[in-house]
Amino acid sequence: MRKILGRVVPAAIPLVVFMVGMEWLVRVGWIKAFLVPPPSAVFNTLLRDWRELFTALAKTSAGALAGFALSATGGIAIGVFLSSSRAIQRAFYPYAVFFQTVPIIAVAPLLVIWFGYGMRTVVASAFIVSIFPVIANTLSGLLSTDPALRDLFRLYGASNSATLWKLRFPAALPQILTGLRIAGGLAVIGAIVGEFIGGQGLGSVVDVARTQQRTDKVFAAVLLASALGLALFGFINLLSRVLLRRWHASEQD
């Protein structure tokens, strides 16, 4: 309990200071309330519109999680495939980089044409935005195996698959988890962008509230979206802790 408090309190202090500061700045009139609503107004909106907002949050969560799950499994699989030979890397890696450079805002309307309005477009958008860091980190982790250990495996006649699963993959795990951590945040962004154009959830709430000049509602939705991103980040940290606790310096206290 003490440990948890010791972690939460330092992170909460800047938030509280910021909230109180904002409230004050808006009340004395230095910031116009229709540009930036006071935190109390955002809080009220959260309470008043909770049914709509939380339905939207549930949809966005489903879209982001599905997109994340796809990019995690797909990204790891593609990373493993690319690591199998240098020729394969030369042939396919440039196309993997495409995922990183694709301007999602420009492509999203296309996704709507392909997948229609709804969840599938949202998932596709979350997937496209978040897969590249998983591929890149998996690949770089798999390629940086200790050469002495590779020699050791060769000496005892280890098969390629034994070398992959007993050596290269576990050695790459810390880096793969780093990729997943980045992908989690990106998947939420991708889902929101998808909802902007062709889905329902926090993204569409923001879009509608914006046209109604309801900045308080925009802020409430953004707040929930960040909370979703944080939750996903926390989940991956927990996973990382469970998997690496015994052996990796990053997870030892």
Binding site: A148, D151, L152, L155, Y156, G157, W247
Partner: protein, 257 residues
Amino acid sequence: MAVITAGRLENGGAAVRLHNLRRTFDDLVVINRLTLDIRAGEFLAILGPSGCGKSTLLRLIARLVEPTTGTVEVTPADLKFHTAYVFQDAHLLPWRTVLENTVLPLELMGTDTAESAARARAALAEVGLAEAEVRYPAQLSGGMRMRVSLARALVTQPKLLLLDEPFAALDEITRFRLDIRLRELWLERGMTVIFVTHSITEAAFLADRAVVLTRKGGGIKMDRRLALPEIRRNELRASPEFGREMEALLAAMEEES
């Protein structure tokens, strides 16, 4: 003592015959026209200045590197999995416990059986690590990690044990202890040991034969049989005959650096 000698004869080690061995990396000639006969059960130390090709030679013998020309012949010939290799650092798998690290070679060779764990425990006991089997490498000292690495090499009952400056990173007391233990293990098991080191003292203390490589071109500068007793204790380090061997090795090394 008689028992130990009998044990040695029973087990035997592998004989290694290098003939006209040459290895280049692009334009760099690392090993050149090297011919060397290593008898079964011999304890050979290989000395030489940094970068002269000691590791490359060891990797050639382990068939981790192919010769450019020349041959490496190990007899008996079906010896593929009876070679063990110990690196300068322990190189353990950090996500495996001490016991799981020690079992690894048996797993990879596909001879993982019900008694694998027992064999690994026996190997750990031989290096004095019986109580540490459930620990992870991160929880061990450098000396303990090196012992695990040694146990991992011993678990397959190798006939040829190759060591590449294995104790170089350890403090001197730990290193002396491991030197003594390695020599005992060699006496008990009768395997062939090839030990690469920078340290003249270590070579003289451990080996029955020392080969000094030339600085350039990877030839043999000196090949010397050491006239020292079979069982080595720390007292030996202060004896006149030890001093004589050191002096001979030092002279050859100095000319090459």
